[in-house]
């Protein structure tokens, strides 16, 4: 850090100034000039927060996708279907038992088991045939989407937010000061704050597992050189199944989260598949930190897009993707060229 400051004094100064400006923008009430250019602080900050929480949800979906891709070179285009399946299952469990929390372990295990079946019965047989695997996942996504439509119909479902997460929470961020001098704090849905916390915990846990444990060592080795790892006599098939199961389970759990703060309906599977695609393309394929960064960028772009140019919000996301592809095809944090 010190070395960086000494080497690049101007850049460091710029970073400090920008950080201070950002901090001031977040914490202090805005003068009229800023409000005139950016909009009311309450609206803008809510948008930014929504972008971050949406990014958290995208991260939950995309991290499994990128992990599976990084290790097995399998573009699982049925990932969105696993998300939707998890959401519907979570809805049924939460609806029947009345327990929102209970849905999480059950859905994780159920969707992970489906992942095990897929990896063991289907993808193991066509290992190395990337294109064929991708085609199979497309076929699976068509079939699963139609089965889900068959069972749950075209209705839109929303999972009820449990009582302990319902209602708003006041964040220590001043949005405005009333005429009598009392500060108005930003109110934000409690459930979204917890989703953000959960995503950060999941992300950090994944990073720790991958970088600090033996199984993580196996995964990293597999990402770098699959053939060599297999040749070393390590149980690579077991690692594959575990990673696929974990990625699938995570997508399922993300379905519950998405079903709680958005809604579940046919078509959501493609939406989240595309979000995952864009996230990993922007962040870099196979990289967990890349997925986090990509999810954050895509989430923010989507929400700020809705605020400033509602007609073209979706297009922003894809413009970012095109720009990344044009200037850094391996993704922002992608290692391979």
């Amino acid at each position: 850090m010190q070395a960086f400051v000494q080497r690049r004094p101007l850049t460091s100064l710029l970073v400090v100034v920008l950080a201070a400006l950002l901090l001031w923008l977040i914490l202090a009430p805005w003068p009229p000039g800023v409000t005139a250019t950016l909009g009311p602080k309450r609206v803008v900050l809510s948008s930014v927060l929504s972008g971050i929480t949406l990014g958290a949800l995208y991260f939950l979906v995309a991290s499994g996708f990128t992990l599976i891709f990084g290790l097995m070179r399998n573009v699982n285009l049925a990932h969105g279907s696993l998300y939707l399946l998890g959401g519907y299952l979570g809805f049924e469990i939460a609806d029947r038992t009345g327990s929102w929390l209970l849905a999480f372990p059950i859905v994780f295990v159920a969707v992970a088991l489906l992942g095990v079946v897929l990896q063991w019965a289907v993808f193991r047989r066509m290992e190395g045939e990337e294109l064929r695997q991708t085609l199979v996942t497309i076929g699976l996504s068509i079939v699963i989407a139609d089965i889900l439509l068959w069972i749950w119909g075209g209705k839109s479902y929303q999972i009820l937010t449990p009582d302990f997460l319902a209602g708003p929470v006041e964040l220590p961020i001043v949005t405005a000061v009333r005429s009598d001098g009392t500060a108005v704090y930003l109110r934000y849905p409690r459930v979204r704050v917890w989703i953000l916390v959960a995503a950060v915990v999941v992300g950090v846990a994944m990073w720790l597992v991958i970088n600090r444990t033996r199984i993580g060592m196996l995964i990293r080795a597999g990402v770098d050189d699959r053939e060599m790892l297999a040749a070393s006599g390590l149980p690579i098939q077991l690692v594959f199944v575990l990673v696929f199961a974990f990625g699938a389970g995570l997508a399922g759990v993300a379905g519950i989260v998405g079903g709680t703060f958005q809604s579940l309906s046919p078509g959501e599977d493609t939406r989240f598949l595309l979000a995952s695609l864009v996230v990993v393309i922007v962040g870099g394929m196979g990289s967990i930190p890349g997925a986090a960064l990509g999810a954050l960028i895509v989430g923010l772009a989507e929400q700020l897009g809705v605020l400033y140019a509602p007609t073209y919000s979706v297009v922003f996301t894809f413009l970012i993707m095109a720009a990344v592809l044009a200037f850094r095809p391996q993704g922002l944090l992608g290692g391979r060229g």
Binding site: L135, V136, L274, A326
Partner: protein, 352 residues
Amino acid sequence: MAVAGETRLSAADAPFGALGRVPAAVLAVAAVLLLMPAFANNFILFQVFGWTFILGMIALSLMFLAGYGGMVSLIQMTVASLAGYMVAILGPSGTEQISLGLPWWINVPVAILVATLFGTLVGALAVRTEGIYTIMITLAIAAAFFYFTRQNYTIFNGYNGFTLVVPPPLFGIDWRQPTAFYYLSLGMAALAYGAVVYVARSPFGLALQGVRDNARRMAALGYNVVWHRILAYSFAAVIASFGGILLVWQNAQIAPGTAGIPAVIDILVIAVVGGMRHPIGPFIGAFIYVLLSAFAPDVLTAFGLAPDRFKLLVGLGFLAVVAFSPDGVLGLWARAAERRRRRVDPLTGTPR
């Protein structure tokens, strides 16, 4: 990407296996197709064959890219829809506040030009990547186009799209009459088919196949690999645009759903099911797809299922094809021909 050689979808250099040596069969098919209006009813002509030729042309453009160029692009349906949209925007349509009402000899060429330009641009972006990455990127761009048309009301008229987009009454013929439309789509499909066969054997097509097989060696030989790939996208975009214009004329309307993700995936399904060994594959795939969608209710009821499970049938069929015959129906044909040949004793020439 060390295994790219094994995953390639086609061996397109072998011209058509057994059927190539039997021109009689080709002639018979051509005769049946030309005489079809004599014995088929309007539904068969317009819905089944018209749609088969259109979907076949769009899938053919994908087959050209994937089979000869080794690039599986999911953008072809989007290019086709853009051409359809341009015809609706520039020419006359039911949405008069947007459509410019230009005559056909302006709106059709401009539509093809715009769509080809779009296809080329996407290609220029997509050739920076390889294999499965190409699928992901083209899929993402296709999705962006779908969402854009759905949200943009000033040019693409959002959810509603355009209605009453009909072919121009050229030579005093209403080209939406089943027989006229059948011949129109048949002629365009035959032209597209011939163009692909011709280009595949031209120096450009041969170089493209060389790029597919070993890009590095072609680059060392002095070929511009990137431009060959981008030009392949342009050529494919031209074919897809013609298909898209026919599609909007057949439906007489266009809406975002035309370029939706399911439609984009369907084109891939058609091309893979038909087979990417030879340009006839996409048309076979399209024929199977159209037959399935036309008669799925009957088939499904026969299996005791609800008649609206068409997609399930398509998905399962696709899975079966990918699992058992990765080169589609054409692959099945080639293997059957191979087996027939083996049944003859190679020494004496007599059946064993």
